[in-house]
């Protein structure tokens, strides 16, 4: 299927967001409100995918968004788009929360891990978000079963590759390779140019 998957363009390179973040870096609160409107949905989505719990997710998302304000002066556009920066930060903070909780709690049962596939929120009616979701779904289907499981367990469940290996009963080296070649295939399918 070759329908117009690129028409909506890549939301992570939305022109305007870069510029807005540049204004935020100068302390512009109005620009920050516009940045908030552009990124809060994706930020909360990433955090909630990893943490599941709505209240905790909102709390972490709030921390991330405040961190965006605080560290905007150090954002370097030459190192990637603002959306990439913000979503990488969101995932990192969600993971930090998961791992700090996990350190204190017992490891979840393997079956419970495998049971949890990513939940795609169907509520949002934003066309761009829907296009993005469809495109990612389409591209995830081009991965092998092992690649897809490894990548989604790591990204959406926040597992380390060791935990992924344990969950899928695979050698560590195999998991490292699957995470890499799975993402490479996804990159090529999505046409990601960093």
């Amino acid at each position: 299927m070759k329908e117009a998957v690129h028409i909506g363009a890549n939301p992570s390179s939305t022109p305007g967001l870069q510029e807005l973040v540049g204004r935020v870096a100068l302390g512009d609160e109005e620009a920050f409100a516009a940045v908030y409107d552009a990124v809060a949905g994706p930020v909360l989505g990433v955090v909630r995918a990893v943490l599941r719990d709505q209240a905790q997710s909102e709390e972490v998302a709030q921390e991330v968004l405040v961190e965006v304000w605080r560290t905007a002066p150090r954002y370097r556009p030459d190192r990637g788009t603002a959306m990439n920066w913000i979503l990488t930060l969101s995932h990192r903070r969600a993971i930090d929360r998961v791992r700090s909780v996990e350190a204190a709690a017992a490891r979840e049962h393997k079956a419970a891990l495998l049971d949890r596939t990513p939940e795609y929120d169907e509520v949002t009616e934003q066309v761009e978000a829907r296009l993005e979701r469809e495109q990612v779904r389409r591209c995830l289907r081009t991965l092998t079963e092992l690649q897809r499981q490894a990548v989604t367990l790591a990204y959406y469940r926040g597992l380390t590759y060791r935990q992924v290996a344990e969950a899928l009963s695979l050698p560590l080296g195999t998991v490292k390779t699957r995470l890499r070649d799975g993402l490479i295939r996804l990159r090529d399918c999505l046409g990601v140019t960093a």
Binding site: G41, V66, P73, D78, N84, R187, G191
Partner: protein, 250 residues
């Protein structure tokens, strides 16, 4: 951990699937391994797309809380002591060298549908590591694909361009000969033409007048390839009129 092992960690790193200790070790590796740095940046951007796909509608209360809080949060000074985001890898500046190996594929006679390609290895090929090798392999595979079709054009200034398309691989290669060097601080950028909308397909090596470049991303219905002059590092959208617009062969 051996160096070979480290090169394979780009995916796990981009997914935050390494332990804190492994992350630190890999970031030291990234500082000296350009191939991994480039790949890690691309895979991080890919992971971000997985995030975009799970966008939700945030509650109104969150907006109020965040906007209220920033009123009392002091911003960091721009680039003070130490990197603000040690986990990030340099991107744009590294974009160019990835084509160094690909550029060693010299085109000979690409006209008339059959092409003879010569593969010369650069002396520094060993240093170019995996990423570039992959690009080269992929490039060679496109050129060798049974359904590869070519279209050549002369650009008037004596330079020629040839586009090679493999529909089965959904990939295209752009080959130029005699292309003048871009002005200092400029670079040639390639674009897929999606019905008039330009989608970046990567940069050319500004240091070479003859080169073969594997276009980044799939053809995915694009009707041709365009070339523009852009500031070093490339642009998200073309900032100048195309020097050349070459339709893909049917």
């Amino acid at each position: 951990m051996t160096t070979t092992d480290l090169h394979r960690l780009t995916g796990a790193y981009a997914l935050h699937a390494l332990s804190a200790k492994e992350t630190a070790a890999f970031e030291r590796h990234l500082a000296g391994c350009e191939a991994c740095a480039q790949e890690a940046a691309e895979l991080s951007a890919t992971a971000a797309r997985l995030g975009l796909a799970v966008t939700v509608s945030p509650p109104d209360a969150l907006r109020e809380q965040v906007l209220r809080r920033i009123g009392s949060v002091r911003q960091q000074p721009p680039d003070g002591a130490g990197p603000a985001r040690p986990g990030r890898v340099p991107l744009r500046g590294r974009l160019l060298s990835r084509w160094a190996l690909a550029a060693c594929l010299a085109a000979a006679a690409a006209f008339g549908g059959t092409a003879v390609w010569q593969h010369q290895r650069a002396e520094d090929a060993a240093r170019e590591a995996r990423r570039a090798e992959q690009a080269t392999d992929e490039l060679a595979a496109v050129l060798a694909a049974p359904d590869a079709r070519t279209r050549a054009a002369s650009f008037g200034d004596g330079s020629t361009g040839t586009v090679v398309v493999s529909r089965s691989r959904d990939k295209a290669v752009f080959v130029v000969a005699g292309m003048p060097h871009p002005a200092h601080g400029k670079v040639y950028q390639l674009w897929f033409d999606d019905d008039g909308a330009m989608r970046s397909a990567g940069l050319m090596d500004p240091g070479r007048t003859d080169q073969a470049v594997l276009l980044r991303g799939g053809i995915d219905g694009a009707s041709g390839v365009g070339v523009t002059v852009e500031p070093a590092g490339g642009s998200e959208q073309p900032t100048s009129a195309p020097l050349a617009l070459l339709p893909f062969p049917a």
